[in-house]
Symmetry: C2
């Protein structure tokens, strides 16, 4: 008890003092307190809790009991200081207002939970410089970083990886560890489906100019289409927004019988814009998205989309990061399958029915 009287005069104590009205006597027990209560040394107490196999069963029990009784919670900072591990994982996403990232974060969080670690989150707002600053600051506190960064240059990421364990999501840079959805394969399937339905003139409404994923999709689609004797015309680049989708619907060539869009927002905008312009989906034109927000299943008509396993991606990124932290050198890229979900918005073109 006297202990805490003393503490009030230290720098730490002052904080407690001011906030004291909410601490009502319950004081934070330290390892030393536990050790004393159990009649052992700090070292033994520590071992009893961390490496039980090193102490006699009887002592272990005494220590455990004392710890429980005192409500002992090891001080994370102190532990981090010696072990060099904070148990924190930095996660940087471009935004959260795009529901695309929510399941990703949730997946990551669940995986982190299972490994007794926590998620430090930051939002880059698609801004490379901001992102870099955030990453630097997070690095100081976290054991490693998970970044989903459509912006940010390859070299910057390489450099960052050299300093700190890093896992990329939805982005590939050389051999850096990464988790990517295999949208390419999924899109191939989706395009196959459209081709099989008889579409020969397809528009791709592309996303932001600097998006890595978008470029991948564009080239893959164009190549595949021309190989099949069809053509893909690219609209854009465009910001990935609802409004841009409306705009795109106006620029859409009349003879295109199907439209693929970079993401769900553009798709929703297109759906809206097409409807307003009197072009019916799928009667006049088929529509599909290269990702899948839940809203796409609730529109009229529901929109064919690519189901990207975001939650798994988030979880997997955490797993990969832990592998890195534990020294496994497997720095491979993990690919997650992205399967098309066929809905009512795609149908054979007019002439073919």
């Amino acid at each position: 008890m006297a202990r805490h009287q003393e503490k009030v005069n230290t720098g730490l104590g002052r904080i407690y003092d001011l906030a004291g009205h909410m601490r009502q006597g319950t004081a934070l027990a330290t390892l030393l307190d536990v050790a004393r209560a159990a009649g052992v040394s700090k070292a033994t107490a520590s071992r009893a809790l961390q490496r039980p196999e090193l102490v006699a069963e009887a002592t272990r029990l005494r220590v455990q009991e004392a710890a429980d009784r005192l409500g002992f919670h090891p001080n994370a900072a102190a532990r981090a200081l010696t072990t060099g591990r904070t148990g924190l994982i930095g996660l940087i996403v471009p935004t959260l207002s795009n529901p695309f990232f929510a399941p990703l974060v949730m997946g990551a969080q669940q995986a982190a939970e299972e490994t007794e670690s926590h998620l430090l989150i930051a939002v880059s707002e698609y801004h490379a410089q901001r992102e870099a600053a955030l990453a630097d600051r997070l690095s100081e506190q976290a054991d490693g970083l998970i970044m989903v960064t459509p912006v940010g240059t390859d070299t910057a990421l390489r450099e960052r990886f050299r300093r700190r364990p890093l896992v990329l999501v939805d982005r590939q840079v050389g051999r850096l560890p990464a988790v990517v959805a295999d949208t390419a394969a999924g899109l191939t399937e989706l395009l196959d489906h459209l081709l099989a339905q008889g579409h020969r003139d397809i528009a791709y409404v592309s996303g932001p100019a600097d998006s890595w994923a978008d470029e991948q999709r564009r080239t893959a689609l164009t190549a595949q289409a021309s190989a099949a004797g069809a053509r893909v015309r690219v609209l854009g680049p465009l910001p990935p927004t609802f409004d841009a989708g409306i705009e795109a619907s106006r620029a859409l060539p009349d003879d295109a019988t199907a439209v693929l869009a970079y993401n769900s927002y553009l798709t929703l905008g297109l759906l809206h814009g097409l409807g307003a312009a009197g072009r019916r989906v799928p009667e006049d034109v088929s529509l599909a998205a290269a990702d899948d927000l839940s809203t796409l299943s609730a529109t009229t008509p529901p929109v064919t989309a690519l189901d990207v396993p975001l939650q798994e991606a988030g979880a997997l990124a955490v797993t990969r990061l832990h592998e890195l932290l534990d020294g496994h050198r497997r720095t491979v890229t993990s690919r997650l399958p992205a399967a098309p979900v066929l809905r009512a918005s795609t149908a054979p073109p007019r002439g073919r029915r």
Copy 2:
């Protein structure tokens, strides 16, 4: 240099060793390194960086220069150990897959950034027990907690507040510090609007049974309506989902001329369900939501809703928490205005046009 050779044999060193392939010589400079490089003691170096007014300008410059040159970043754990502040804020939300919470998190994150702190995020999945466990674990690492907890009992929250600085969001428990959207006032306005349009028979589609906010809304609405000589019939409780909304649309009494729903999901479901049943919005029945997701503005027709300033709420919660941490005793509840956004989904009832 020799220093780091030595370190390889310590516990810490071993980690570096294994991950060493990514650290390529660049070693983390410690305060001691900086001090030596500047020809001063650790103490002076620390002061030069933290409390510049305490050292001579010349030394300050030397130290600063040395720190920059060595790329010094203070070790967060070490600092936390002495200061008792980790600079981390725990944030617990029920879910992220409901876009409702995304702006909240982003607002909080931005505010945290401005105060040099970081956000530790966890997802309770509306599960009280899970939430409690997460809160316990976050408490160990964070200076304080922000919880948006529709579940979780008053007493548990009170108890938690006694142990750690805590700010509630969208929930009020006694005098605990909280940030709430004044949906009551907003709803009042909304209902006034409906009443003014001539609606006298209004349905409220309520949310989860254990939701604090829902109860607030229900009672407020019922009271206000009866005072105005109208009636509000309550449907539910229901899970706050799209599907539940569809279901609700079937249970909707024929003579209700307007429907208010607990949240956007239910609203979207209702819109869909009403459409399918051939009841037109707003010609046959008006529709409004007690919160506002962006999708509501993109439906046909766009839906009248209550605009809740979520981003501000998140930011404000962080500010409040910092006030607590700094010892300000203002433990008041902050109310944020929630204003109705009138859109095409609400119109005078049939008889009144």
